[in-house]
Symmetry: C2
Subunit: 360 residues, 2 copies
């Protein structure tokens, strides 16, 4: 293990996954379920979505120990037609519920060409891109929508926080190029970025948040006095609303005032909603033709003339792709402050500490 | 007919539709096809989407007379599974091609719960919201994506205009409230708004466009020296790309360098692509329950506390809804300068002038 930055330690991805799995098993989760959750959480860190990976483990454990998660959920289909289903997650971990939903959508898309599966009574499931990417290995395209787990966004012109950062993600296969993977909150900044600024003692740029008078709010320690701004002003508000209606209301999950702030409340059933649309490329013509067209477009974009001072043009998902390859080889850099927190958690849960497991 | 603003004349919606229909018939279109196109174009003006209504008639006529549109297209399904289809528009008017695609998606959604139909060899079809709204009357939800008909957007950091304003639209049923209808370009401003500023001799606000040095461009007469900015910076770039892949590449339509600027080129086949996703609410549970949940959310949003200086909070589509009702009663206000242009066109085409038809 080596780390260029002394504040970080490189952790083997498999060791990270095993540590997370052990944490869930310690709380009575079945090995299989714990493995599924741990694999997805480690995958989040592996692609650099570090706000949604192992950093969430202490919070998840707190909720599980408080009884806010069903450890043995009966995840089941409650509505179904040929190209759609609604999956009731029975308040299980979101990773399990959404995985089931995506697998079902892939199966249905193989038959019908296209399929949509909504979840209800799900929970926080980590980065949206994990699920939008899952159909890629089947030469399918994924579109994913989710209701965020805390409302930080008011309607445009308003001050009641009725909306969340409701993300959109897409995973689109390419041929020789990495897939195009978009994963974006409908707010300028995700709330996790605000918390990260506070932790580092930095100020936020103007445009991330405003206060209740509509003035720019740049001190992240005052975040509770204001709210996030949507991308494109009223457009992002409309997009956050539509994503919430698709991912929440349509499947019978929480939206608007019903959304539970899962950072503050560890017990109430969140009734989180997500939705996945899967499109089987082979239904639309030759898959190789589609992939070739994406490759050409990707190359044209990458080779575009650039604005002064711009070194490189990135495709959506390309930075995550490079990180995944680098971290797979050299380990995932985890902040030492987080490792300290995880080692304390390990003691608490009675499991092998992360660094001890990684060294084994 | 009365008009509060002396620069506008109120035109009866049916008279506007009949005028447009006559224009297409004069060029050899079948009455039925001309009627479908005219109804949709007049509907655009009726809801205030005046950049996509009768204002486009001179341009459409120019393209038709130049041979750039197939007047008698063989619009047909070229790929199909239970929940999807690809419709080849045979270079017909986009309004006809997309109408066929939406009708087919509605039919398939009734069976499968969800359906996706892509178009290829289509053309400009007017405002996205027209098509996203169409499923509403069947208690279905519509999501619409389109490739714009001219590239004005480079990748983030680049200067090659490889992307268009690729819009997203959604039509979501409510109960007693108007439906939630989103229709947004993925750029801060649509290019039509830039042209409108130039026409009125006004400057653009900073944030709409930049020049090739990356500096704000505010003079709309210099628009050709710069490009539009995406919403949320790199996020809007990613969104425009994904929308283009979904609406264009997936169905085998033009994207990137293949996109024809239909303002400058009246002859080349545009191979425009659109895509519609239709979701049948009844597959997801009680329709009345869904509509009630949307009503509640709409009311919570409208009744939100407001920022200082904000008189009212709007839902997406609410302003169009109010305009539609007002114009239906009092006529559609059409700029006198446009009427003059249309009367000249009528003379050219040998059809009854608009004002004469409206007075009849």
């Amino acid at each position: 293990m080596k780390a260029p930055n002394p504040n970080f330690t490189s952790i083997d991805p498999a060791a990270l996954r095993d540590f997370i799995q052990a944490a869930f098993v310690s709380q009575g989760f079945a090995q299989d379920d714990a493995r599924t959750i741990a694999t997805l959480m480690a995958e989040a860190d592996l692609q650099g979505s570090d706000g949604h990976g192992v950093i969430r483990l202490p919070q998840y454990m707190k909720r599980i120990r408080a009884g806010g998660i069903n450890k043995h959920p009966d995840i089941r289909v409650v509505h179904e037609r040929a190209a759609m289903a609604v999956v009731d997650g029975d308040n299980g971990m979101g990773h399990l519920v959404v995985s089931r939903a995506v697998d079902l959508a892939i199966e249905k898309a193989r038959q019908c060409g296209v399929a949509w599966v909504s979840t209800r009574y799900s929970n926080h499931a980590g980065p949206a891109s994990l699920y939008a990417r899952k159909p890629l290995q089947h030469d399918m395209l994924g579109l994913y929508f989710a209701v965020g787990n805390a409302n930080h966004l008011p309607p445009w012109g308003g001050t009641d926080m009725l909306l969340s950062t409701n993300p959109i993600a897409a995973g689109i296969p390419a041929g020789s190029e990495p897939p195009v993977v978009l994963d974006m909150a409908t707010t300028v900044a995700a709330y996790g970025k605000v918390k990260a600024k506070a932790k580092r003692g930095e100020m936020m740029p103007e445009g991330w948040m405003i206060d209740r008078q509509g003035k720019p709010l740049t001190d992240p320690n005052r975040a509770s006095e204001g709210f996030l701004l949507p991308i494109g002003d009223y457009k992002g508000y409309g997009l956050a609303l539509v994503v919430g209606l698709l991912a929440g209301t349509l499947g019978g999950a929480a939206m608007g005032k019903e959304v539970i702030d899962f950072n503050a409340d560890h017990v109430s059933v969140t009734n989180t909603g997500q939705a996945i649309l899967v499109i089987d490329l082979s239904a639309f013509g030759e898959v190789s033709h589609f992939k070739g067209a994406v490759d050409t477009l990707v190359k044209d974009i990458r080779n575009s003339d650039r604005l002064p001072g711009v070194d490189r043009i990135w495709l959506p998902g390309e930075q995550s792709h490079e990180r995944r390859q680098a971290y797979q080889a050299a380990g995932i850099p985890i902040a030492n402050s987080l490792i300290k927190e995880l080692e304390a958690l390990a003691g608490d849960l009675g499991i092998t500490p992360l660094l001890q497991g990684a060294a084994a």
